[in-house]
């Protein structure tokens, strides 16, 4: 069953926390992965793979560069769940 927008955000925040140690409360929709959360491209790819597993979605490599904010990622994952 597809998860809600808020459930995806909460799940993604856990993944970001696991990879970077950033507090889950800091992972908000408007936050930029690079500028606000200071997540580099390699950590971003780790987050992407963990999100693919957790949410059972496929995030193409070429799509990753378009996921600038937490909101972008939540929207993509929510849509990709079908």
């Amino acid at each position: 069953m597809a998860l809600s927008h808020d459930e995806v955000l909460a799940g993604l925040a856990e993944i970001v926390n696991e990879e970077t140690g950033i507090d889950t409360d800091s992972v908000k929709l408007e936050k930029s992965f690079t500028n606000d959360l200071d997540i580099d491209s390699i950590s971003m790819m780790t987050i992407v793979v963990n999100a693919e597993e957790k949410f059972s979605v496929k995030i193409p490599d070429e799509e990753v560069k378009n996921l600038l904010t937490v909101g972008d990622a939540v929207n993509f994952i929510t849509s990709a769940q079908g």
């Binding site: 491209s41 790819m45 780790t46 793979v49 990753v64």
Partner: protein, 334 residues
């Protein structure tokens, strides 16, 4: 129709690695030395790659010089005569001649002439490919002792302004002597390729384009994130399968020796494999950089040299890179 009875090779049951040899580029190149053309910094390079220094060869030190030095150390360590070597396998992507092979010259220079000698091109998986072939040659009875060398002078094929891989690359050669054994010393190899990602790590152009003036000197480049993803999550599966076919558990290992591509790949592999802390993890990339086919034997040699691991322990070695190509096997440390 009947025919005269043929002889075939008599097989031997087991093989092992007898010894290793190592040679690194004669120059110690710091991050500050190379950061300028890529608009980077020591801190950025350390954080993204783990590299503090990389070893590169001066113009006076050739790929063959390093291969000869590493080979001589391995031959001496094995306690054999070079004339006893039954095959020379040289894994390299940076031998600057299309033909003849680097291996035949190496065989001549170390006194192994007229041993059969050939190069293999499997990039960062090349040494582990070579060990697989050496194991097969020894156990099938084709050769008693096989010299396997992984050697590169990658600095001849880098672009100082390339931010994808050039700043990681380094020069060196690692060598191993494989021979017959009373007990199993090299597990079955889990190896393969994925040509659907052929261009993920590749040259910027072909030699034909360079000849025709359509491209500059070909250098190595990569799609870093695609390769990172493959190198971690696909290689985790390969590593687990290698342990499985070897018939051992992760806690039976003394060491994990991966291709030294990037400290972030190594750390993530360790995390995904859930390795016990008792397993030493090779991080030779910190001081040596990424030497492609040489990185696994150089890293294993260093662990043994500094006493981190002892001969007789088990090490999972895994090479992965351009092709894409990969190979993993568990070996008894020499």
């Amino acid at each position: 129709m009947s025919h005269a009875k043929l002889n075939q090779y008599e097989t031997v049951p087991f093989s092992r690695i007898y010894s290793l040899g190592a040679s690194r580029g004669d120059l110690v190149v710091t991050n500050d030395d190379i950061a300028g053309p890529i608009d980077s910094s020591d801190e950025w390079i350390r954080q993204r790659t783990g590299i503090i220094t990389r070893r590169r060869a001066s113009t006076e030190q050739s790929l063959m010089d390093m291969a000869v030095d590493a080979s001589k150390e391995a031959i001496a360590g094995a306690g054999i005569s070079p004339s006893e070597i039954g095959a020379v396998i040289f894994s390299t992507i940076s031998h600057p001649y299309q033909t003849p092979s680097a291996a035949t010259l190496l065989a001549e220079l170390i006194g192994a002439n007229p041993a059969p000698a050939f190069d293999i091109s499997a990039a960062c998986a090349g040494y582990c490919y070579g060990i697989a072939q050496a194991d097969a040659l020894v156990r099938s009875g084709v050769a008693k002792y096989v010299l396997v060398v992984g050697g590169e002078k990658l600095s001849d094929f880098i672009d100082p302004t390339d931010r994808s891989i050039s700043f990681l690359l380094a020069d060196g050669a690692g060598a191993a002597i494989v021979g017959p054994s009373d007990e199993a010393g090299i597990s079955p190899t889990v190896w393969g390729s994925d040509g659907s990602h052929w261009s993920s790590v590749s040259m910027t152009s072909s030699l034909l384009d360079f000849r025709d003036g359509e491209a500059s000197w070909p250098t190595i480049r990569q799609d870093g994130l695609t390769v990172f993803k493959w190198a971690v999550w696909e290689m985790v599966k390969v590593a687990k399968e290698a342990l499985d076919v070897a018939g051992i558990q992760a806690e039976d290992l003394s060491a994990l020796v991966t291709h030294q591509a990037n400290i972030r790949i190594i750390d993530e592999l360790v995390k995904q494999l859930k390795l016990p802390e008792s397993v030493a993890v090779a991080r030779d990339i910190v001081n040596t950089g990424n030497t492609s086919a040489a990185s696994v034997p150089l890293a294993m040699h260093q662990l043994l040299k500094d006493g981190t691991v002892q001969p007789g322990g088990l090490a999972l070695q895994i090479g992965f890179g351009a092709g894409l190509a990969f190979a993993a096997q568990v070996v008894v440390l020499p």
